[in-house]
Amino acid sequence: MEFFTMCVLAAGIGMALGTLGTGIGQGLAVKSAVEGVSRNPGASGKILTTMMIGLAMIESLAIYALVVCLIILFANPYKDVALKLAESVVKH
C-alpha cells in the first residue's frame, strides 16, 4: 500500500512544483504586456496576440506536469506489478 501513498504524494507535490514556476513565468509575461499596452495603447491588438501565444507556450509546461500527474493517478504503468507484489506479501 505504500506504493499508492507515494503515488498520491508524488502527484500532489509534482503538480505544486509544476505550477509554481509556470505561475511566476506567466506573471512576468502579463506584467510586460500590460506595461507595453500602457505605454503604447495603439499596439494593444498585436501585444495581446503575441502574449496569448507566449502564455500558451508557458502554460503547456504546467499541462505537462498535469498529464504526468494524471498518468500517475489514473493510468499508472506499475499498478499491476505493485498489486501482485502486495498479494504475494499477504500470502506469505
Binding site: 496576440t49 496569448m52 501565444i53 500558451a56 507556450m57 502554460e59 503547456s60 499541462i63 505537462y64 498535469l66 498529464v67 494524471l70 489514473f74
Partner: protein, 229 residues
C-alpha cells in the same frame, strides 16, 4: 476516469465489440454528433444564399470572415489556400470544447486521441507544404545556419518538430481534461452553484485554447513556407 453520466451513454455497449474503450466510445460518439450538427448547420446556412444576408447566413459570414481576417493578418495573402483547413480546425475545436459545458455532453477534445488526430493533421500539412513549396531545398530548414554544425542541428530540429505535435496534443487535451476533472470533482463535493464559476472559466478556456491551436497551426505552416535562414 470515466464520465459519471452522459446523454449518449448507450453507445458504449454498441461500440464495445469493436474493441473501443468506454472513454474512447464517448469521444467517438460525441465527435459524430458534432459532425452531424456542423454539416446540418453548414447546409442550412448556405441553402439559400442572398446578396444581402440575414439570420443564420449573416452569423456564419461573421464567423468565417473573422477567421479569414485573422488568417490574412497572421500569414499574409499567401496563406489563403490554407483557409479551409484552419477554419475547419478552429470551428471543430471550439465547438467540441464548448459542448462539454452542457451537462450530459462530453467534449471530444478531452480525449487524447481526438487532439492527437488534429495535431498530426497539422504536422503532416506543415511538411507536405514545405516539400511542395521548396522541393528538395526544404532540408535546409533542418540544417541550421552553420555548415559544420549541420549534423547536430538536424537531430535537434527533428526532435523540435516532433515535440510540436506533442505540445499541440497535450496542451488541448490537458486543458479540456483538467477542466472536466475539476467539474466532476466539484459536482461530487457540492453540486449546487459551486461549479458555476468553474464553468464560466471553462467558456474562457474553450475560446482561448481553440484560438491558440488555430494560431499555432498558422504559425507552423507559415514557418515551412518561409525561406530557411
Amino acid at each position: 476516469m470515466v464520465h459519471p453520466y452522459l446523454f449518449l451513454q448507450f453507445f458504449r455497449e454498441i461500440l464495445a465489440p469493436l474493441g473501443i474503450s468506454e472513454s474512447g466510445a464517448d469521444a467517438v460518439v460525441y465527435t459524430w454528433l458534432l459532425m452531424l450538427g456542423l454539416v446540418l448547420l453548414s447546409i442550412t446556412a448556405t441553402k439559400r444564399l442572398q446578396s444581402v444576408p440575414s439570420g443564420l447566413q449573416n452569423f456564419m459570414e461573421v464567423v468565417v470572415g473573422g477567421i479569414e481576417n485573422m488568417l490574412v493578418e497572421t500569414m499574409g495573402e499567401h496563406g489563403r489556400p490554407f483557409f479551409p483547413l484552419i477554419a475547419t480546425l478552429a470551428i471543430f475545436i471550439l465547438l467540441s470544447n464548448l459542448i462539454g459545458l452542457i451537462p450530459g455532453f462530453f467534449p471530444p477534445t478531452a480525449n487524447i486521441n481526438t487532439t492527437a488526430a488534429c495535431a498530426v493533421v497539422v504536422f503532416v500539412t506543415t511538411h507536405v507544404v514545405g516539400v511542395k513549396h521548396h522541393g528538395a531545398g526544404y532540408i535546409k530548414h533542418f540544417l541550421g545556419p552553420i555548415a559544420w554544425l549541420a549534423p547536430m542541428m538536424f537531430f535537434i530540429e527533428v526532435i523540435g518538430h516532433f515535440s510540436r505535435v506533442i505540445s499541440l496534443t497535450l496542451r488541448l487535451f490537458g486543458n479540456m481534461n483538467g477542466h472536466e476533472l475539476v467539474l466532476i470533482i466539484f459536482f461530487g463535493l457540492a453540486p449546487f452553484l459551486v461549479p458555476l464559476p468553474m464553468m464560466l472559466m471553462g467558456v474562457l478556456v474553450s475560446f482561448i485554447q481553440a484560438f491558440v491551436f488555430m494560431l499555432l497551426a498558422m504559425i507552423y505552416i507559415q514557418g515551412s513556407l518561409e525561406h530557411a535562414h
